[in-house]
Structure formats: C-alpha cells, structure tokens
Amino acid sequence: MAINFEQVNFSYGAGTTLAQPILHDINVTIPDGQVTAIIGQTGSGKSTFIQHLNGLLKPTTGRVVIDDFVLTSDLKEKNLTSLRARVGMVFQFPENQLFANTVLEDVMYAPINFGYAKADAEFAAKTALKQVNVSEELWDKSPFELSGGQMRRVAMAGTLASNPDIIVLDEPAAGLDPKGQKELLAIVRGLKEAGKLVVFISHQMDHVIAVADHVIVMHDGGVVAEGTPVEIFNKDLVWFKTVALDLPKAGQFAEQLRQKGHILRHRPLLLTELATMLNEEKRHE
C-alpha cells in the first residue's frame, strides 16, 4: 500500500512556451501504515506534490505508484475514479467545499459518487460524522449554519465517509483554535490506529512532532530530506536556515539557551523533554 514517486517531474502548461516547472526529479517513498508529514516553506511545491496522490495532477514525466495503481501523464480522466475512491483528500479550508442542504447529505456525496447504495452511503456518512465528533443534532442542519470549526469537521467527514485507505490533508489545522487543533491531531492519530496511511502538510513543527512517524522536507520543488522527526529536527541550524524552516518550540527554546551559554546534551523536541533536561542539570549543580 506504500506510495512511490519515481523520477517525477511536473510543469504547469507543459509543452507550451509558458511551461512553468514546479517539481523536479522527485524520488520518494511514503511508507504504509504511518503518518507522513510534508514540510517546507510556502511555494516549495508541497500542494503540487500531494495533488499527485489522487491524480488531480499527473506527473509530466516519471510515475507515481500508489499501491498497485500507476499514475503517468497519459492516464485518462475517467480511469482516475478508482484511485480517488482509495485516496481521500482534504484540502486547505475544506469548509469551502460544502454545498448540500443538510450536513448528512453533504457527507454522503463522496460515497454515492463512488457507487455506494443510498442506505450504505448514509451509514458510512453517519460513521464518519461520529469519527470526527459532529454531534447528532447537527446532522439535519444546513452546513452553512455551523460554526467554522464544525464546518471543518463536517468537510473532513465528507472525505472520510468513502473509507479511503490513504488520507491526505493539506494544512488541516490552519485557522483552527487551540482546542480544534488538539482535536484534529487526535483524529489523525485515530486514522493511523485504524490502519490508514496518512499524509499531511503542516507549517506547525509541533504538530509534526506530535503525530508524524516520517517527515519529507521540500524546498524549491524538490525533496531535500526525509527521515524520522528525530532525524530531521536534529539537523544543524544552518540547514534549517537554507530550507527556511523553524524548529519546534522546545528546540527553539533550547537553541536560545545554548546561545546564552547553557550546555545541553542534545536538542529536545518536546517541551516536557526540555523541562526534564533542565531539571536534571539543576540537580547536578
């Protein structure tokens, strides 16, 4: 079920005078059953990259292998439906996709498109709505009456309802309040426990530390590093500057302490880890 990018290049308007190369020479594997975070500064190609996962974009050259599905430039639009049933995509601000008369109808949209019978679609929609904690009294309301956070969760349910094996989220936490962010991370953990492959884009390194097993770093349309969060966030500071990324909060704090002359054995990634280190240091004094 893993996803493989093999020599993938992508340009907008390929073959015309206005061709704009976006991704170049991407060779990367997204492991199965794990949560993979994609990080990189704005304009590094993250969104273009993930749109290759369900065939919204097709590689200009090279191929993307998703389980046994091979995505290449010459694939026809009508052959992509089976891929889209297996790969659920939650875009940035997904609440903008809501359209139906009721919450339940909106969440049933994807399962019905992918060939579920109406009763099955309704059951799947209800399961998905429970999964993202949308309470039952909202199901018959218009999606436009809900609060921003509720709309976001309904939109997520709209993707989860067709029970895809792979779930891709583009900055799912953007614009949520701290409570909403926490809930979102819990949903991501839940998906992993259910055996899904999760890919998400994030600008919040603490979220990456909190849920990701694997990290892919993008810069200028290429993959510049990949590894576990511990491997990635222990790279030296100069590297972080070149790829224009931040350290997680604990790491930033630790580096500032180091500049003030504190000696720390390693760079902590969690605030609790940093606290333990500082406490130990104090005990030794």
Partner: protein, 267 residues
C-alpha cells in the same frame, strides 16, 4: 482553468502597454465600429493585418491570444452554424427541411467567424495590456460628461473595477472547489447531459457562497477605511495623453482611411 484569459492582465513594457488606457479603449471601439462595415475579403484581410500588427506591438506570445479565444469557441461555432443554415440565397448546395446550405451562407459564416475572432482579439489586446483599475479609470474619465445628467459615473466605474478584479480570484476559487469535489468523486466528463448538469451544483453553490462572503468582507474593509459613496475622490494615477497616444490615433485614422479606400475602389 488556468488558461481562461478573459479579463486577465499580463504586465509588460511594450508600446501598447504604455498607451493611455483611454486611447486603447477608444481605439478598440473605433476599430470594432469600422470593422463592422467590412463586406469584402480585402477589408477583412486589412483588418486582420491591423490586428496582427497590434498583437506584435504588445510583445506577448500569440499563445496568450489563442487561449483568449478558446473559451468562446462554442459561441462562435453556434453563430457560424446559424449563418450557415439560415442564410437565404442561391445556389443551394444542400436542402434538408427548413435548413439550407447556400454559397452566400458559407461566405457569410466565414465572415461572421472572422469578425468574431478579430473583435475578441482586439478586446483581448485591451485587457491583456491594461490593468483592470486603469480600464475602470478610463471608463470613468470617458463617461464624465454623463455626470451632468446625474449618472453615478464614479460608482459605476468602481463597481466595474471590483468586478474585473474578482474575475481571476473566482477562477482560482473555481479550480480549488473543482479539485475538492473531484477528490470526492465528482465527474464532469461522464454521463448524459442531465447528469453533467447536476454535477455542476456542488461547484456552483460553494462558489456563490464564497463570492458573497468575499463581497461582504470587501465592503467591510472599504468601510473601515472610510469609504463613502457620492463623494469627490482624487486619483492616485492621473491619466494623461502623450505623444504615443497621438501616434496611435494617427495609426487608427490611417487604418480607417485605407479601409474606406479599399471598400470604394476595389469594388
């Protein structure tokens, strides 16, 4: 969706880019007006040559103009087909009920197509080389005399510039929503016409909701910055004619004179 060029401005520094927007606007109108008098192959050829020259002067790749024509392809086709089947005359080549294909019909259809294409190309030159705000300013300046009879010219031009500004935004928004619904299994390209028409609903509703929201946000943003209607406002960019504009008008007069010349002498 990225290739829809209607109303999209491409920055540049060509001679045409630097013209006063009023010149370009009047020029476009004069050209269209003159071209509508075209009844001969020679006058169409002359008009086409003029458009090609203007396109070359914008220093933009022809591809951009071609993209501008694509979205109205069906409209052109529809008009051409109407001309082809409903023009009376002889000789008749084909006869099927009320439908007739005649030689004048074919000629008319080709004329109409050329006319359509040239008008679109000329207007694309205007929008491609002129920022929407300049177009609105030019319109306001040209319509100024109407203020005397209490036409709210400034408000109209503001509405126009906002509408033009929103075109590319709505295009991008459409693309995003389309991607989201495609990911949820929407398909535009399969099924009969009714199924296809239904597939547009999940696209249109979010688009309308988004557009209304944007309009409200914009209204608030304008009000907090002190916007009031029906007041006298000064302009950040003051329009002024220059020597380029003079040459442009001379060029247009030249075009018109030769056009009339062809019309009267070649006959």
């Amino acid at each position: 969706m990225n290739n829809i060029m209607i109303g999209r401005f491409v920055p540049g520094d060509s001679w045409i880019h630097r013209l006063d927007p009023r010149t370009k606007m009047i020029g476009t109108f004069i050209f269209i007006f003159v071209m509508l008098w075209s009844t001969l192959w020679a006058t169409y050829a002359w008009s086409a040559a003029f458009v090609v020259l203007a396109i070359r002067l914008t220093k933009q790749p022809f591809r951009l103009y071609w993209d501008g024509l694509k979205p109205i392809f069906w409209l052109i086709l529809f008009t051409v087909v109407l001309q082809l089947f409903f023009t009376p005359g002889t000789p008749v080549l084909l006869h099927a009920g009320p439908l007739k294909v005649t030689i004048p019909g074919i000629i008319n259809a080709i004329y109409v197509m050329i006319r359509f294409v040239l008008i679109i190309l000329m207007s694309t030159i205007l929008t491609l080389t002129t920022p929407p705000t300049s177009i609105a300013n030019a319109l306001e300046s040209l319509l100024k005399p109407l203020k005397k009879i209490h036409v709210p010219v400034a408000e109209l031009s503001l509405m126009l510039s906002i509408a033009l500004r929103f075109v590319p935004l709505l295009m991008d928004e459409t693309q995003k929503i389309m991607n989201a619904q495609k990911s949820r299994g929407m398909s535009f390209s399969t099924g009969g016409p009714i199924k296809r028409a239904k597939a547009i609903v999940p696209l249109l509703i979010p688009l309308f909701v988004g557009a209304l929201q944007r309009a409200l946000d914009l209204a608030n943003a304008m009000e907090v910055r002190g916007f009031q209607d029906a007041t006298q406002r000064t302009k950040y960019r003051v329009l002024s004619y220059g020597s380029n504009d003079r040459s442009a008008f001379i060029g247009l007069i030249g075009f018109t004179i030769i056009f009339i010349g062809i019309k009267f002498f070649i006959k």
